[in-house]
């Protein structure tokens, strides 16, 4: 396992006037795209990097112009208003549910870049003059581009439609979840899953119990090892697929199994699937007559995972350095949620 040295940029937030297009929309009206910008947007989109907008502009006029230019579909949760860009940037991170340190912000005005950097020092700020070089920055060069990454924009668009449906829903959360007809699959990782598995270990921070990242080669070795289970989880529903969204690595000892890695994409946080994968492990260990332990490394962002373990019946039984060892009490066994179809493949 290795530490991540370069923070991966997951989303680029664009200014519009004199950044995406030449001119000021409300003054000039007939603005034209700046040369090369759309190519950069498409190149990054194909790598699975998302795009959004932080522009001080008239919302309807700017959206109409983006439609006319044929590029509106690239931008998720555009923030077009008269407020501070730092607020808009934060709003993008919250709407997509990714860490603010995974954003880049492009603007032609030094004042705006400074304002964003002052509020969020982790955001990578880029001068509009340097846009052509964006695809070459290491932060914007993911090691692998998987089927899931190429589809990422569409996956997030489906999420936006789900959120709209959720906002319009009256009733309990569980009733809403039931209306989605979710189908969750748990299967041993195949060779074709390994790039996505590595991508998940690198990209996932909030729902990640240990933060260990493993290379493709290490994951491939675990996949073949008789002493390990490497499981990949997928989810789909009425609105389409979420892709491969979960990963678990279990080391199988003779009288205890240890969960080395348990992570879930933050896109599925509100679906309760972290507990589903964990319950599958609890039940499998119980059926095999072994104890189930789990390693946990607390960070400022993965408290949800700790709560998931504790509420599933785990207790802390040991600690070495940063790593807490949790152990399931063998008593709290929970089935699967009624609002989800679960398929476990061998």
């Amino acid at each position: 396992m290795t530490a991540t040295t370069v923070t991966t940029v997951k989303c680029v937030v664009w200014d519009l006037d004199n950044t995406v297009w030449d001119g000021v929309l409300l003054e000039d009206g007939d603005v034209t795209l700046r040369p090369g910008v759309v190519d950069v947007i498409r190149t990054l989109d194909e790598r699975g990097i998302l795009h959004s907008i932080a522009s001080r502009n008239d919302h309807d006029a700017a959206m109409a112009k983006l439609e006319e230019l044929g590029i509106a579909e690239y931008f998720l949760y555009p923030q077009i208003n008269w407020g501070n860009k730092s607020d808009s940037v934060r709003a993008v991170a919250e709407a997509i549910n990714i860490g603010i340190d995974t954003l880049a912000f492009v603007d032609d005005q030094p004042f705006e870049r400074d304002e964003v950097r002052f509020a969020h020092e982790q955001v990578l700020t880029v001068d509009a003059l340097d846009v052509a070089g964006l695809p070459d920055l290491p932060q914007l060069r993911p090691r692998f581009v998987t089927d899931d990454s190429r589809e990422r924009r569409h996956l997030y668009r489906a999420d936006a439609r789900r959120k709209e449906a959720e906002g319009a829903h009256h009733g309990t959360d569980e009733e809403f979840l039931a209306s989605l007809n979710m189908r969750f699959t748990i299967a041993p990782a195949q060779e074709r899953d390994l790039q996505r598995a590595e991508e998940l270990t690198v990209r996932t921070n909030q729902l990640n119990a240990t933060g260990y990242t493993y290379s493709y080669e290490e994951l491939d070795a675990f996949r073949r090892s008789p002493d390990h289970d490497l499981l990949v989880a997928g989810l789909e529903d009425t609105y389409g697929t979420y892709g491969k969204i979960g990963l678990a690595l279990v080391e199988r000892g003779t009288d205890a199994w240890t969960v080395k890695l348990l992570l879930m994409s933050c896109r599925v946080m509100s679906r309760g699937v972290g507990s589903v994968l964990l319950n599958h492990l609890i039940n499998s260990a119980h059926a095999a007559g072994v104890k189930l332990r789990a390693e946990f490394v607390p960070t400022s962002r993965n408290r949800t995972m700790f709560v998931t373990y504790k509420f599933a019946g785990f207790r802390e039984v040991g600690k070495r350095d940063e790593v807490s060892v949790l152990e399931h009490d063998g008593v709290h066994l929970q089935g699967f949620p009624p609002y989800m179809d679960i398929t476990v493949e061998d």
């Binding site: 009733g171 309990t172 959360d173 569980e174 009733e175 729902l207 946080m269 509100s270 679906r271 309760g272 699937v273 972290g274 507990s275 589903v276 964990l278 607390p298 408290r303 949800t304 995972m305 700790f306 709560v307 998931t308 504790k310 509420f311 019946g313 709290h332 929970q334 089935g335 699967f336 949620p337 009624p338 609002y339």
Partner: protein, 84 residues
């Protein structure tokens, strides 16, 4: 005071559980599937609603199991000054 705490907790839980009258000692972990999301939302709700900080060692199922247990937990946390 305590009645008020229980009412606020019951009001919150009614968003998740389709039951008309949640009794003070009903085990919410037996009423439905407890997802990681619900667990985290409940923890955040208790922290914000009652302005307390829940430490890792407080995260025991027993404290969150029922309205009664939550009430006792909140009351105890509020009576102890936060450790410096």
């Amino acid at each position: 005071m305590s009645t008020d705490t229980r009412a606020r907790i019951a009001q919150y839980l009614s968003r998740f559980f389709p039951v008309q009258d949640l009794k003070d000692d009903d085990d919410i972990f037996e009423l439905g599937f407890v997802s990681s999301m619900f667990a985290m939302q409940l923890v955040s709700f208790v922290e914000h609603e009652f302005a307390i900080t829940i430490e890792n060692e407080d995260l025991e199922l027993e404290h969150f199991r029922s309205i009664k247990a939550l009430d006792a937990f909140v009351t105890r946390k509020l009576s102890v000054p936060a450790a410096g």
